[in-house]
Symmetry: D2
């Protein structure tokens, strides 16, 4: 079974056996996702860019970052499942769009925003 | 190739050909991730729980949600790659931990937080 | 002295005596602000709308919400000071704009977004 | 009338005349607050620390930052009003606590987190 389908399945089962489905509404899961992203930001917020680039060299920081990234992925995958969104398909559709929108020659070395698609 | 490895590879290549690697620092990517989660929240914020549960039935809302979820996944996968975190491994390690921490009998139907691991 | 000026002054002094100014860059403060908003969301995420409406009746929840709201205000005021933005002036300018953009008759009872200003 | 009370009053009146009170639940306002913080992050995310420090020198960036900061303050003040939290009192209570928790001699020049209050 594909990785993300398997993950969605594991999360669905985790919620079912605890009777947590009623908490897992789209709004609640989106809030939980944002809360976890907040915890991820907190790990990086006071570091200089140089310190942040080397953050995985410290075992304690690395463990915390792995844990926070996991929490973000968990709520994202759970929200996608509840909304019946195929996350992988959505991602590749968006990247196909970005490939056209941000032409490599035009946007080389520049972080300016592309105009919205017509 | 596994789904998430393939995604990380596509994102790395996308950044390389545009010479965007220098923008893709851990702090910048974490900020971009939070910004995209903010756009996702904006899609759901004024809906009642009932409206939010049916949000995918409206084709325009469904397309916007797919697009915002994709953006969140894109920055999460890109940040994991830059930090050299194996996202899938981190997720399953966290779920193994949660399986023990939130026993199905003790937490059935309850959303209270588990005490932090000893 | 006006309330928000006094707050900005107290926060500036707090950072100065701890030599924390070098941590208080615009990006770092914006990340800290988002992190605190994440903690605020976490207080509300699993509640039903009804439970959330009565959340201040529980003294423990009320204390946590007061504390999280304070943290959000603290980083917002500190960021405004570092960017030399007059927060109160910015707010009233925005509300003057919103008064025109969202006419009371046209938007009564509707949460749809106004078109972007021309 | 004090600044923040006056702001809360103006926001309450704005919602009333548009019959928007039913949208302004604690959860919805917290989501809107997080969404606006996301827009603020988006203004700063790709800048170097040096560029971010000078961001107010560009009139367009300055106008956008003022506008995003205003939106954050608006939803924060509105949420405080709905929850009947005195934001200014909460902030100064928190700062009194921080004055004790982060002693100036012990935390000088260090961004490490204080242990949670006993």
């Amino acid at each position: 079974m594909a990785e993300l389908d398997e993950l969605a399945h594991r999360l669905r089962r985790f919620a079912e056996v605890r009777e947590w489905e009623r908490f897992h509404t789209p709004k609640n899961l989106a809030m939980a996702l944002a809360g976890e992203v907040g915890e991820l930001l907190a790990e990086l917020q006071w570091l200089t860019p140089e310190e942040a680039s080397g953050v995985m060299e410290d075992p304690d920081s690395a463990a915390r970052l792995r844990s926070e990234m996991a929490d973000v992925m968990i709520y994202l995958a759970r929200l996608a499942d509840v909304l019946e969104i195929d996350l992988l398909e959505a991602v590749h559709a968006k990247l196909d769009e970005n490939d056209k929108r941000y032409s490599a020659t035009e946007y080389r070395g520049s972080a300016r925003k592309a105009p919205p698609p017509a």
